[in-house]
């Protein structure tokens, strides 16, 4: 009995150690977990698969290093799929500190697939003032992005030849760590009827179900789990799939702690009831 009472007052650091262990150990031991895609993720994948060759896909980097484990694997998987299907990514950055992350992934996958800069893909970089910019791209992208991220004029790149506004972009994929996606949905989606797919951090993904349900976005990739599903769909399991074991076990540990906490709670309650009865 006593042990349960102790448990109800367990030091939080004890819980932290357990969580650390179940996160780190699977990353080292790498047990295999099968990943089955859910519908919101499958919807994004299918939509991209069905885009005709040469379609332009705008990718917005709206996250920074903190969300790297959740967003970076999806970005890489998506880029692999785009280059494989001869679709043309146009990268824009709304979170300044995310710029190097977007560039790194784009260059890495482009090298792998031998895509040519300016022809098969382009990186427009970061510009301040995202609301004005998202509204502005509805009219002319050059009003905000006169040059790419290395200050080379847009018109010197073949990929940008007929790209002026949302009409010329077949899909917008937002990788989101905050609430920037609301502006994409409100202006790009609402006002200019742009098709939007979103990848959100697990912590904010439930919020975006609104828009998925009302078909304001075509699909939703939530957190590292979503990224793992996407990696599986693209056929190249990578970091997110590897992280699934850690995530599974840590959820399990939290559940075990919750159950233990409840047992302790009931033991304590019944003891108090007995004492009260005396």
């Amino acid at each position: 009995m006593n042990i349960f009472l102790k448990l109800s007052k367990v030091d939080r650091r004890f819980i932290y150690i357990f969580i650390a262990l179940v996160v780190i150990l699977p990353l080292i031991l790498k047990p295999k977990f099968p990943v089955v895609p859910t519908k919101p993720v499958q919807d994004v994948y299918d939509y991209v698969e069905n885009l005709p060759e040469g379609s332009k896909v705008m990718i917005s980097i709206d996250y920074d290093a903190a969300s790297m484990p959740e967003q970076q694997p999806f970005l890489e998987a998506l880029l692999r799929q785009l280059f494989r299907n001869k679709l043309k990514p146009i990268l824009v950055v709304q979170w300044q500190l995310g710029a190097p992350l977007g560039t790194t992934a784009l260059e890495k996958i482009a090298r792998e697939t031998q895509a040519i800069y300016g022809v098969d893909y382009i990186n427009l970089g970061y510009r301040p003032g995202y609301v004005a910019q998202i509204v502005g791209i509805g009219k002319e992208i050059r009003d905000y992005f006169k040059t790419d991220y290395r200050n080379i004029p847009l018109d010197s790149f073949p990929i940008m030849k007929n790209v002026h506004n949302y009409n010329d972009i077949d899909l917008l994929v937002g990788l989101e760590a905050g609430a920037t996606y609301l502006v994409w949905i409100e202006y790009a989606g609402g006002r200019f009827k742009q098709k939007i797919a979103l990848a959100l951090n697990a912590v904010s993904a439930p919020d975006a179900y609104y828009f998925y349900q009302s078909k304001q976005i075509i699909g939703l990739v939530g957190g590292m789990k979503g990224a793992a599903e996407y990696e599986a769909l693209v056929g190249k399991p990578d970091l997110a799939v590897a992280g699934m074991a850690s995530q599974s076990y840590s959820h399990l540990v939290i559940i075990i702690f919750i159950i233990l906490g409840n047992i302790a709670y009931f033991v304590e309650k019944s003891r108090k009831a007995k004492e009260g009865g005396k």
Binding site: A65, P100, N151, I258, F266
Partner: protein, 212 residues
Amino acid sequence: MLKGKGIPVFITFIVGTIMIFSFFIPHKPFGDLEKISLNWYSIIAGFTMLLGVDSLIGMHYRKITRRTGNWGYSIVLIAGFTGTVVIGIIETIRLGTAFNEASYFTYIYNYFIVPLQSTMFSLLAFFIASAAYRAFRARNFDATLLLITAIIVMLGRVPLGEQISPNLPKFTEWIMQVPQMAAKRGIGLGISLGALGVSIRILLGIERSYLS
């Protein structure tokens, strides 16, 4: 008539009303007002950054000169701040952009900012565990229901759930899309109306506590 708080309230009312009308009028000059005001805000916000820097550096400078508790950290902060700014400027001059792969600024980003941000965010995993442990107690019927749902969703959102039963992720998806959504939409509706109320109170000058 227009004295003290009257002037800012009057300005708020006029500007707010014009902005509302401009939403319906695409014709010049109304159509561009939203864009212009957003641009103005960006410019003003850029300058206020100086105020922020002044506040931050000022506070830590005072800590150092007065030798208040933990003043050593303040030295680290000021050194880090000036170091990053100086390296950013030097690299911009040297390489054209501070974000060049070869620049030391990128080095700072990759090896200081990335790990620091990741560390802070990953603390969330630990905090969620301890908060969940404390909060999820089957105190009454509602709490028990919440507890059971939480466990189902936690299992259903990871591949482990798929292994227990293929129906578990499907059920989780249903929980997310139906009961979760219903509650959220209700709260969301209230929030939108609340925001509307705040806006109207400010526009009409009933709410003035944000003014000085």
